[in-house]
Every structure is written in C-alpha cells, then in structure tokens.
C-alpha cells in the first residue's frame, strides 16, 4: 500500500526557533515536493527534490531549506521560524504527487 508519511502532525514553535519537518515515502519515488497551504493562497510549491542531494527551489523558497540524504526521506527546515510561516505543510511524492497527511505548524 503506497504511503507518504509526515512527522510531526502538529507543531507549535516560538519565533526564532528552528523547525524540522520530515517526510517519508515507501514507493521509491525519485521526485518529492514540499508545499504549504494557506487560506486564500491555496497550495504553493516551496521546494522540489529530484533525487538524493538534487534539490531545486519552487515558487516560495525564501526562509526554507531542504535536505534529502536518502531517497525515501525529504526534510524541510526552517532556520529561525517566523510567524508568517504558520501554515499547513504538505509533502508530496512521485510524478502523480501523492500527498502526505500534512503538518500543521504554528509559530508564536
């Protein structure tokens, strides 16, 4: 059964703290994505990863970085989180973009 997992599901951080969001997939997909979803703005692409250590900026990469050291894992990192990074973050995997369950991040 194809699966995209995200951890944690919910996270509350204070402004200036570092944040690590993790995504895993068990389908050996080469390509993985990070999106954020905000009311009124829809889903926006943050980063794409084409394979291990092969990453590319999406439409809104500022304030984020990513890491992909294994094909099955793709991490999103917020160094010194800001309040405007409060959002729901979705990881997607594969050309058909199977979405994970999302991480609801609140930055206070």
């Amino acid at each position: 059964d194809m699966k995209v997992t995200q951890m944690p599901r919910y996270l509350i951080k204070r402004m200036g703290e570092n944040v690590l969001l993790e995504c895993g997939q068990d389908m050996s997909h080469e390509t993985m994505y990070w999106y954020r979803q905000d009311p009124g703005l829809g889903l926006q692409l943050i980063y794409i990863s084409y394979d291990v250590d092969s990453n590319s900026e999406g439409d809104i990469p500022k304030g984020y970085r990513v890491s992909r050291k294994k094909r099955e894992h793709f991490s999103l990192i917020l160094d010194s989180a800001k309040t405007n990074q409060t959002s729901v973050y979705f990881c997607a995997s594969g050309s058909k973009q199977f979405f994970g369950p999302g991480t609801r991040l609140t930055v206070l």
Partner: protein
C-alpha cells in the same frame, strides 16, 4: 499574478445535478492538468488528470473538458452526490512534472440531498 485561475469560488448543487467547475491558465508550457479534491482536515488527493493531446478525459462521473486554444478547462461532476462535497483544485505543471504543480485557489462544492 495567478497562473491558474478557478471559478466559481463556491458552488452549491442538489443531489443528482451536474456541477461545473472552471479553470483557466496563463502559461503555454503547461502540459499536465490534474484536478485534486480535498476534504476538510485532509490532504489533497488526485481525482483525474488530462494532457493537452486530449480534449476530454472521463472517469466515472467526473469528466474534464479541455480547450487548448483558449487555455481553459472544466471539470464536470454528473449525478452529484453529497459525498462529492469538497474543495476542488485545478493544477498545472510543465516539463513533465519537473517544475512541480501550480495550483488554483480552489472551488468549494456543496452537494445537498
């Protein structure tokens, strides 16, 4: 500038009616157009998709009509059911998915029994 536009923002239909959701795009390099649906507190899920080589794609009660010349497409939901109540997103991608998806802002569909 919104590259993918959807209308209407919200739509209410009665059970059994046909719901029509519209989508238009700007970028001529887009070559893949999926529709996703999303239920409250859940993640988006792929519903149906089309490539410009076709002008119609059907999957059960869901049909995409595509007009490449006008850069428009629409999703028709025939015999709408209350379980179809969700937000529907039109999306587009270029270069065979390599650029990721650009999403519209969505159409919220409510189907009343």
């Amino acid at each position: 500038q919104q590259q993918v536009r959807q209308s209407p923002q919200s739509l209410t239909v009665w059970e059994g009616e046909t719901a029509i959701l519209n989508c238009s795009y700007e970028d001529s390099t887009f070559d893949y157009f999926p529709w996703y649906w999303q239920f409250p507190r859940e993640s988006p899920a792929l519903l149906i998709a089309i490539r410009p080589v076709s002008n119609k794609k059907e999957d059960g009660r869901f049909t995409i009509f595509f007009n490449k010349r006008e850069k428009k497409l629409s999703l028709h939901i025939t015999d709408s059911q209350p379980g179809d109540s969700a937000t529907y997103f039109c999306a587009a991608s270029a270069d065979n998915y390599a650029q990721g998806l650009t999403f519209g802002l969505g159409t919220r569909v409510s189907v009343f029994p």
